[in-house]
């Protein structure tokens, strides 16, 4: 946490819940903290159900469409608190200041409109160019995301493009208003490994070129590690470890981060079993009391069970929610 520079985005103790019939609230994000500096790349890692996608939706102000509300905390963007912002305020920010690249590229392009129509729309809505220049800008954006034969692609529709090309078009749309922060939610999950590699490279390059900040969400620590400087690891709605990847990569200080690292197939020893995490991640509404991870944790002790999810504490150069972080060994 660098105190000298004002961060672009500061999420403090953010809590989000689904609104159930009868006014009951079902928590999905629980007191998450996240600080994204100017021109920094920040990863969010978690498995399905960890709340990472709902965190993204909070940060682009689309919670209400998914039946959820902010129940606590602050989202500071340039000093303005967005946690309680209404739709009118969000419209000035969503897509313009904060760009968004969703997971499913097929579902987020309009199948009946050409690539050009959609890019021109993105460019004109952003208000940066006149309608006349918008077409030239659309072409320039496609070239920026390194689409070969860009002129030809402009006239095509999404079903004519491969998954990787579609994802490039989406990225081009998101870049049109020159956002200061780009949020990419599992942008490569559906892609082949060679394509994934190129898209990650592209995201990293345009980020540096634009001096843009990035939040990259993934279930895969290695993907985040390709592009990001910092990471927050989420488990069952809570942030369990956060900090610089240079610190966390070699020496995780939360048992869940450690488990994510050592359960990867690439860290297997030949002929030996992988270190699997026992049990299953808790489902929404069934979070255990105490530390959320203790029922699956190989180093759980009696004092892990009461007292609710422990808050992040500074330890060994990063933030960790594990109260026994001092007992952990290097993987």
């Amino acid at each position: 946490m660098t105190a000298t520079v004002t961060p672009l985005l500061q999420v403090e103790d953010l809590s989000v819940a689904f609104r159930k019939p009868g006014g009951r609230l079902l928590p999905v994000v629980d007191k998450v903290n996240l600080t994204v500096g100017v021109d920094r790349a920040h990863g969010v890692v978690g498995e399905s159900g960890s709340g990472k996608t709902m965190l993204c939706r909070t940060l682009i102000g689309t919670l209400r469409r998914h039946g959820a509300v902010v129940t606590g905390g602050r989202i500071l963007l340039d000093g303005q608190d967005l946690a309680r912002a209404d739709e009118r305020a969000w419209r000035k920010i969503r897509g313009r200041v904060i760009g968004y690249v969703p997971q499913s590229s097929l579902a987020s392009l309009n199948p009946v409109l050409s690539v050009e129509t959609q890019l021109v729309e993105a460019v004109t809505v952003a208000g940066r160019t006149s309608a006349r220049d918008a077409r030239a800008e659309a072409l320039r954006l496609l070239e920026l995301v390194r689409i070969p034969r860009a002129k030809q692609v402009l006239g095509q529709r999404s079903h004519e493009l491969s998954g990787g090309m579609r994802q490039r078009v989406i990225i081009a749309c998101a870049l049109a208003p020159r956002p200061r922060l780009l949020i990419a939610d599992e942008p490569t999950t559906a892609l082949d490994v060679t394509v994934e590699h190129k898209i990650l490279e592209l995201i990293g390059d345009v980020r540096r070129e634009f001096g843009m900040s990035l939040i990259l969400v993934s279930h895969d620590l290695a993907v985040v590690d390709e592009v990001c400087d910092e990471v927050v690891v989420m488990y069952a709605g809570a942030s369990v470890e956060a900090g610089n990847l240079e610190r966390i990569r070699p020496e995780p200080r939360h048992p869940y981060t450690r488990a994510l690292r050592i359960s990867r197939v690439d860290s297997a020893h030949p002929g030996q079993d992988l270190e699997a995490i026992g049990g299953e991640a808790p489902s929404l509404g069934a979070w255990p009391s105490g530390c959320r991870f203790w029922p699956r944790c190989p180093m759980a002790q009696d004092d892990c069970r009461p007292d609710g999810q422990p808050p992040l504490a500074w330890f060994a150069g990063r933030w960790t929610a594990c109260i026994h972080a001092d007992l952990m060994e290097r993987p």
Partner: protein
């Protein structure tokens, strides 16, 4: 020395007709011995799933044949497919655990049904054996009583494995069984597959786009690209000294590799 348990010889699968026709698989030959884990790795569109489906007779080959214990069981163009008496020998686990289980059957029922059909035992015995088999997959009796929608992806996939093992097959074809589930569940499933392959002496054909998984699980590997097998050999050799440029490209694309290089570059 006995020959391969299952073998695909010069298999071609053509989809479409005339000028629209494309070969999803072209002249592919693979074999798997008993007690051997073999991988097929490739990206989407490489034909790896189609090839697997030919081996279990879900897709008719346009050319070539499938041999079981050296005996041809599927010929291109011939109807009928796998002889009924041999079908139990080769079973399959599918990619998507959400669509491959009957949503109206409890987990144990899916397995017990297969046991009842293949082992020809009364329903009561089938239920006991199903629960026992599921237990060995790490599925508790409580979980076995649930419908698929109430199980996690990893649990569902373990139920699918149990069902595939119900006929006590000699060969198991697994098509991307871990690609739709969380990483923590993936390790569990891979450990399980490795264990049952060894314990049962299964011929395992493992299809995946994930090089790490292939390296962990298999001793021999085929690399497919655009319908053709471009490289094959012992897994470690292929990973350490890839001969085909495409294999090298695949290996270089694995996330995390660059990090190693990046970090190394930072240190003077």
């Amino acid at each position: 020395m006995p020959g391969p348990l299952i073998e695909a010889k010069d298999v071609t699968v053509r989809f479409g007709y005339g000028s629209e026709a494309i070969d999803a698989v072209r002249n592919a030959s693979i074999y798997v011995n008993a007690n051997e884990a073999v991988g097929v790795v490739g990206e989407s569109g490489s034909g790896k799933t189609t090839l697997a489906r030919v081996v279990v007779d879900l897709v008719q080959p346009t050319a070539g044949q499938i041999l079981l214990d050296g005996v041809p069981v599927i010929h291109a163009g011939s109807r009928g497919g796998f002889p009924r008496a041999d079908r139990w020998k080769v079973q399959m686990v599918f990619q998507d655990p959400y669509s491959s289980l009957n949503p109206r059957q409890r987990a144990w029922e899916s397995v017990a049904e297969a046991i009842q059909v293949w082992q020809r035992v009364p329903a009561r015995v089938a239920r006991e054996r199903a629960l026992e088999l599921l237990r060995s997959m790490g599925i508790t009796e409580d979980q076995a009583g649930r419908f698929p929608r109430a199980l996690s992806g990893g649990q569902r996939q373990r139920v699918s494995v149990a069902r595939a093992l119900a006929p006590r097959p000699q060969a198991l074809i697994a098509d991307e069984p871990t690609s739709a589930i969380d990483q923590s569940a993936q390790a569990h499933l891979l450990n399980l597959l490795r264990r049952i392959q060894k314990e049962r002496g299964l011929a395992l054909l493992f299809i995946s786009h994930d090089l790490g998984v292939i390296r962990y699980l298999t001793s021999r590997v085929y690399v497919m690209k655009a319908g053709e097998i471009v490289e094959w050999g012992p897994t470690e050799r292929v990973f350490q000294q890839p001969e085909h440029p495409y294999t090298r490209l695949l290996l270089d694309s694995v996330p995390g590799r660059r990090v190693v290089r990046r970090t190394a570059a930072v240190v003077p």
